[in-house]
């Protein structure tokens, strides 16, 4: 029978909307649907549209221990003009870095429309006290982050402390101030699509602007079925409450072909209204160059050498 999500408090969403029932996900049928959508054959002008959109939706990411100001500056320059040989290629949506690199990215991107996104809350594990997580968030926001990508506490979620997960999201949302909050579920650690569905609802109830699949540090990261599962939650939330929530698959999306498959899943699940960088992002580091290569191929009919595209 239908269950309602049992949370300790603050469940009522602004405006009095109510959450959809948690509901269930059938793994076999979900994966079959994702596989079916992955077979869409996107050609010519529809492919160019998809590739350009994928660039505009990209959170160009570097999250390495070895990140330096030099690396982040280079990435930020690339973010503003991904293909110097073709100025018609749009800028990406955001650059995504660790909190310590936010200031560098902010300076480099000043004056451009490219946002600065920062991971926070003891990324990637989320295994720290709430105070530490909130300090992490505030530091990133103060350094100039427009967007915060937090991780949920999977330890709490998997041990059944759902209320704690919810309260952390609420607290982080508050610490974000005007910054826009993406909540990473780390779906690769949640085990089932039912858990992904439940975690998505908790994140949205807590105040997420976006829900995001993965940190990129755990395998599997983003997959088409898990993205479809989360998009279906977003659709149910919109149906029931009118809330408009965004989606960010991240990790493991390396090819233009994959990006187009994600766009087809998005298109046929939430419709054209969601096909905007305001509501859908790709978290990726190596995807951009393949999209640039394919875009050049679509426009000129010729595959260029990968060496013609800058590393970062």
């Amino acid at each position: 029978m239908s269950q309602t999500l049992a949370l300790p408090r603050a469940l009522e969403l602004p405006g009095g909307g109510r959450l959809p029932r948690v509901g269930a996900v059938d793994a076999v049928a979900l994966e079959a649907r994702a596989a079916e959508l992955a077979k869409r054959s996107i050609k010519r002008e529809s492919k160019i549209f998809g590739l350009e959109l994928a660039i505009r939706m990209m959170d160009l990411t570097t999250l390495e221990g070895a990140d330096t100001p030099g690396k982040v500056r280079a990435l930020s320059v690339k973010a503003m003009q991904p293909d110097p040989a073709d100025p018609s290629v749009p800028a990406v949506a955001a650059v995504c870095v660790y909190p310590s690199q936010v200031a560098v990215a902010r300076r480099t991107l000043r004056g451009s429309a490219v946002k600065v996104a920062s991971v926070a809350t003891a990324f990637p594990s989320g295994q720290a006290s709430l105070d530490v997580k909130l300090a992490d968030v505030r530091a990133a926001v103060e350094a100039g982050a427009d967007e915060i990508d937090m991780v949920i506490d999977r330890g709490a979620f998997l041990s059944g402390r759902i209320g704690q997960v919810f309260e952390e999201v609420v607290a982080v949302k508050e610490a974000c101030g005007d910054a826009h909050l993406k909540v990473i579920l780390e779906t690769g650690e949640l085990g089932t699509y039912d858990a992904v569905r439940k975690a998505s609802l908790v994140a949205i109830a807590g105040g997420a602007d976006f829900i995001k699949t993965s940190t990129g540090k755990v395998t599997p990261a983003a997959t088409l079925p898990v993205t479809l599962c989360m998009l279906e939650v977003i659709r149910d939330v919109h149906d029931e409450t009118g809330l408009v929530i965004g989606m960010k698959p991240a990790g493991g999306i390396r090819t233009a072909k994959q990006a187009i498959q994600y766009l087809c899943v998005l298109h046929e699940t939430l419709g054209i209204e969601w096909m905007t960088p305001d509501l859908f992002r790709f978290g990726a580091s190596s995807l951009l160059n393949d999209v640039l290569l394919q875009l050049r191929k679509q426009r000129t009919g010729i595959y260029r050498s990968p060496d013609e595209f800058t590393l970062d």
Binding site: L30, S41, S46, G50
Partner: protein, 491 residues
């Protein structure tokens, strides 16, 4: 600051993402202008001296002329099959298996060609003929190839023997796949066959004749007679046959059974259906919607086991119907050869007329119709995906097989009521149950009078799984070990 506020405001319209056409090339199929009959391993001119044209239902263009087999042609084909039966049934079973394996491999090698031909002649979307019809047809030959030398183990202690010449008549909804369902077990058991494809979809059967040649099937073991219902009637009346297997309408099935009365000829009938797809309120709703769509819009609803009655628990009716209608709006109806097409053309003008008539009766009887906005091509035979809500059990659209993309939605309150309503039909081919509760699926499966009960899925086929009906959906089973029994006698 943030790119988007959490807002409830209406989202701005952003135009559309039109998918550019992505047409599967048809050059891979080379059709002859005119096809004879395949008798005794050769293409022969029909004694009837009569031909008819097969059309593409999506464009109404003539594709080829095919022979109209008459009484003499039928007699010749049965004679050829009888002559071939003597040596073929004495072949070492492992050698017969090799022939079937070769057919399976060639079907895989020529899959693209056969898929394009199937979509051209029948109107089904290329993604279905490519991803469903062809892989399953090959799988059936692989599966029964494996049984050919193991029949003693399938029926321990019963000494299985082949019957003789099997007369096989297949429908137009899955032309090549139904051919495979018929021919593979018959040959594996050591029979020879005379097969009649449907009048509107003869092409893949004729191409299969060439597959037989390539696979070195001995002459006369497989014979293919094209023609209309009269050809089928001659075949069933022929004195030389030892078995009749028919898939098609209940009406013709009954006529065949009358024809065979008093003759010692085993018969299998796989006829119509009016399957219930039953959705409980605890089910995974979005996946249930996929199953409903697959259940009724797959192959334009030209599926005998289609889930044409949706029984939905009343508490989730509105939510489910809203999800279903939204999903229907994403169905892409059009050119069967476009790789992005979800729903193709209606197989024939006659079928389109029947669907149109029944849909009209639904509206007249007071059910509420919904069709998503979609542009149907001007040429060819088309019908938009349709759902009826507020349907009563007594409406014609809840009783009669429509065999088109038309779904009737009814509600129930309790599992008992779901079972009663599901069984309240003259048919009994298939049913679907959607619930997260495993014990309820088993409880339902025990009570549903249907040959196949799918749990949290629909229209799933596998050569290892027997398929067949209850009541007016026919008798006998095809597929699996059960499917062998129909082509054997026991000493």
């Amino acid at each position: 600051m943030g790119a988007v506020e959490r807002s409830r405001e209406a989202l701005p319209a952003r135009g559309a993402w039109e998918y550019a056409s992505s047409i599967e090339g048809r050059d891979i199929v080379s059709l002859e202008e005119r096809y004879g009959l395949f008798i005794g391993g050769r293409q022969v001119t029909p004694r009837s001296r009569s031909w008819f044209t097969t059309f593409s239902p999506s464009t109404e263009e003539p594709l080829a002329e095919v022979a109209q087999a008459g009484a003499k042609d039928v007699a010749l084909a049965v004679d050829a099959a009888r002559e071939a039966f003597v040596p073929w049934s004495a072949w070492r079973p492992a050698e017969r298996a090799k022939v079937l394996f070769r057919i399976a491999r060639i079907l895989q090698e020529r899959a693209r060609e056969l898929a394009v031909a199937e979509s051209l002649d029948g109107g089904k979307p290329i993604k279905e003929s490519r991803d469903v019809d062809l892989p399953l047809a090959a799988a059936h030959f692989f599966y029964y190839a494996g049984w050919a030398d193991k029949l003693e183990y399938a029926f321990p202690g019963r000494r299985p023997r082949p019957l003789g010449v099997a007369a096989q008549i297949v429908p137009w909804n899955f032309p090549l796949l139904m051919l495979a369902w018929k021919i593979a077990p018959a040959l594996a058991c050591g029979n020879t066959v005379v097969l009649k494809p449907a009048e509107t979809t003869p092409l893949t059967a004729l191409l299969f004749a060439d597959v037989c040649r390539q696979a070195e099937v001995p002459p006369g073991v497989v014979n293919i007679l094209t023609g209309d219902g009269s050809t089928g009637a001659h075949l069933v009346r022929n004195e030389g046959i030892a078995k009749v297997a028919f898939t098609g309408s209940t009406e013709v099935g009954k006529a065949i059974q009358r024809e065979l009365a008093g003759r010692d000829i085993p018969l299998t009938l796989e006829l119509g259906g009016k399957a219930a797809n039953i959705v409980f309120d605890d089910s995974a709703l979005d996946q249930a919607v996929e199953g409903i769509v697959n259940g009724i819009y797959f192959n334009q609803g030209h599926v005998c086991c289609a889930g044409s009655r949706l029984l939905v628990q009343e508490s989730i009716h509105d939510q489910l119907v809203r999800k279903l209608k939204r999903r229907m709006a994403t169905l892409r109806v059009g050119d069967p050869l476009d790789k992005n097409t979800d729903v193709g053309a209606i197989n024939s003008k006659a079928q389109l007329d029947r669907i149109t008539e029944l849909v009209q009766s639904g509206t007249e009887e007071g059910a509420e119709i919904y069709q998503p906005p979609c542009r149907l091509p001007e040429k060819g035979w088309w019908f938009a995906p349709t759902v009826f809500t507020n349907v009563a059990q007594s409406h014609r659209i809840a009783q009669e097989e429509i065999f088109g993309p038309v779904l009737s939605v009814l509600t129930f309150r309790t599992p008992d009521e779901a079972v009663e309503k599901a069984n309240n039909t003259m048919y009994g081919l298939s049913a679907g149950v959607w619930t997260e509760k495993g014990s309820r699926i088993l409880w339902m499966a025990d009570r549903l009078r249907a040959g196949v009960v799918w749990g949290n899925t629909f229209n799933r086929f596998d050569p290892a799984s027997p398929f067949g009906g209850y009541k007016e959906s026919g008798f006998g089973r095809e597929g699996g070990r059960h499917g062998l029994e129909a082509y054997l006698r026991f000493e």
